[in-house]
């Protein structure tokens, strides 16, 4: 049966309650509202809308199909991860059998004698990625804060567009730019300055060719900057105005408002943005290969050449002769996979440690 068909009760609508009835004050005469027309009971066949809606069924099947389809999509993620992991392990069996888990801690990389280890590459990947984060995160936060909070409305769209454009540039183009612009600057200007003022730290020793870990880190920082800043900006813009007003109304300055009312509420999302940037830095191959020097060594000096997990695969896969060489390169891929997982896990654990006991993220 359809409730809509039932006639309204025919009693006249009651007068709205007197605005003053709870207050001990005399109110002037109150005008009663009278409804313009009484609802009339309708007869005849159900309306076309009612017929259409009744014919649609209860949606149970549609809901179940939808839920099942989404479950399949979600499970496919697990399947893909497992599939990749299986292939990596299966194809690196030779090297796994030869070196065991010691592979990840060995420094040798000698294709001629068939002696392989992943440590210099793990070191190169972690060092360049973390250095890149250290450089990019403060800058990206600054860009995001400017775009979300301080930027005049006219400038917001063009700057946001440029930031996102930066994210869309292919990494080989970044690499070319780094080779022709960044490397000479590092060699002739920035490098000597670093030696002069920060040489005492010991991180800027040895000969500076312009290519090396620091150059790779800088190009990585530039590449992950737009990702971190544009996501952070979106997250900051999603913080409700009421939070900003709550802080301002307490007598906060602009910066205090941003810190307490915006960044604090957005912190989980900002960490997510940083993790995405880190993910890109860990896996970045082309631009890094072009400027890192491609030499597997572990050096304290950031001017020294290095090698990353991704770069060595890209550089040597086509020339890998011999089963052991190929197997070792695939195990490097496994190492990259594991490094990414471990780093992400650590980042999540950090977030959890910071926000534990701290309240829900909902606003």
């Amino acid at each position: 049966m359809s409730l809509e068909r039932e006639p309204e009760p025919s009693s006249p609508p009651t007068a709205p309650s007197l605005p003053m009835d709870a207050a001990p004050i005399h109110a002037p005469a109150i005008i009663n509202f009278v409804a313009a027309s009484e609802p009339v009971a309708q007869e005849g066949p159900p309306s076309p809308i009612r017929q259409y809606l009744s014919a649609r069924g209860n949606g149970g099947l549609a809901d179940r199909t939808f839920a099942a389809a989404m479950l399949v999509c979600a499970l496919s993620i697990f399947a893909i991860v497992l599939f990749i992991l299986t292939i990596l392990i299966a194809r690196s069996k030779l090297s796994l059998a030869q070196f065991g888990f010691g592979f990840f801690l060995r420094s040798a990389w000698d294709p001629v004698s068939g002696d392989f280890g992943a440590l210099p590459f793990i070191f190169g990947t972690l060092t360049t990625s973390l250095l890149a984060l250290a450089m990019a995160v403060p800058l990206a936060l600054g860009v995001a804060i400017f775009l979300a909070e301080l930027c005049p409305a006219r400038l917001r769209a063009p700057i946001s567009f440029l930031t996102e454009l930066l994210a869309a540039i292919p990494s080989v183009v970044y690499g070319l730019w780094a080779v022709f612009v960044l490397v000479p600057i590092m060699r002739d200007q920035l490098g000597p300055l670093l030696v002069k003022y920060l040489g005492w730290t010991g991180f800027f020793g040895g000969y500076n060719f312009g290519v090396g870990m620091l150059t790779a880190s800088i190009i990585l920082a530039i590449m992950i900057l737009p990702i971190i800043s544009s996501i952070t900006r979106d997250i900051m813009l999603a913080v409700p105005v009421s939070q900003r007003e709550a802080v301002l109304a307490l007598g906060a300055t602009r910066w205090e408002m941003i810190r307490t009312g915006v960044l604090r509420n957005a912190r989980i999302g900002i960490v997510g943005a940083v993790i995405l940037g880190l993910g890109r830095a860990l896996g970045e191959t082309m631009a890094v290969t072009m400027v890192i020097g491609n030499h597997p060594e572990i050096s304290k000096s950031l001017f020294a050449p290095g090698y990353t997990l991704a770069s060595v695969i890209a550089n040597e896969f086509t020339e890998a002769t011999g089963d052991m060489y190929l197997s070792a390169l695939i195990e490097i891929g496994l190492a990259l996979f594991l490094v990414t997982i471990v780093v992400n896990a650590i980042a999540r654990a950090l977030v959890w440690a910071v926000t534990r006991g701290a309240p829900a993220r909902s606003i």
């Binding site: 709550a246 006991g357 606003i363």
Partner: protein
């Protein structure tokens, strides 16, 4: 002690909309003053001009003189100064969701760099007691998120947060309109007690509420203040026909 507010020739705009037109008004110290009027009449804009929140909207501007005591708030002080002295409670409770109840109430002091723990503790307790929330939350002050409280409790926590910075004036923009009747009556009781210490300006849609808590009432219509008088007068013998029409429910 609260401070009185004198408003002279206050005009406000949002973009090209002239939201407030030549408002003149004296709000007496240590009393509650209610502002009533239909939606969009400018009463919220008016209170937002009293702590210079109006100008935080980039398209908004205001002209005229607003004096708090002898201080011309648009000439002699920065907006940050003014907002430290004029507290505000918003229509929807806006607790800081990442902070505990304690940190929510202490947030005004903490963001101003206040670190003395003994005074912070004492202020949080006093403010929560003043906001009639202390008994309900005292055991979970630092454990529970401000956002985990019920709507009515959140709003009282927001009142406590505003009181913790020891303001002279408390602005309340429809503080009970998002709350159930029980919470509303608690907030009203609170206003009744607070007005001995603070000057309270309350915007409300609810005319009984104005009648219950405020000594004086102003009626706003279409950006103008039609009438300002003692609450008794406004509700029994309004001098303007439009006021009478509004409070008797003929429009709005």
């Amino acid at each position: 002690m609260g401070a009185g507010i004198d408003v002279e020739h206050l005009n406000a705009w949002y973009g090209t909309t002239h939201t407030l037109q030549d408002i003149n008004l004296n709000i007496p110290a240590n009393h509650a003053t209610a502002l009533i009027g239909p939606s969009g009449c400018g009463k919220s804009t008016f209170v937002r001009c009293l702590n210079r929140m109006h100008e935080t909207n980039p398209i908004a501007r205001a002209t005229g003189v607003v004096k708090m005591g002898d201080l011309d708030i648009y000439k002699d002080a920065s907006p940050v100064d003014i907002r430290r002295r004029v507290g505000m409670v918003f229509q929807r409770p806006n607790p800081f969701p990442t902070m505990s109840i304690y940190d929510n109430v202490a947030s005004g002091l903490k963001l101003n760099g206040f670190r003395n723990k003994a005074i912070l503790d004492e202020t949080v307790e006093r403010s929560l007691k003043a906001a009639a929330l202390w008994e309900e939350v005292k055991d979970e002050l630092k454990k529970k998120s401000g956002a985990s409280l019920s709507g009515g409790q959140q709003q009282r926590m927001c009142i406590a947060r505003a009181l913790a910075v020891d303001p002279e004036v408390l602005l309340m923009d429809e503080p009970a309109s998002a709350l159930d009747p029980v919470s509303t009556s608690k907030i009203e009781d609170l206003i009744f007690q607070l007005k001995s210490r603070y000057t309270i300006v309350i915007v409300t849609h609810n005319m009984q509420q104005a009648a219950r808590v405020a000594e004086n009432t102003g009626f706003f219509l279409n950006g103008k203040m039609v009438e300002f008088n003692s609450t008794d007068k406004i509700f029994t013998t309004p001098s303007d026909k439009r006021t009478e029409d509004y409070i008797t429910g003929r429009f709005g």
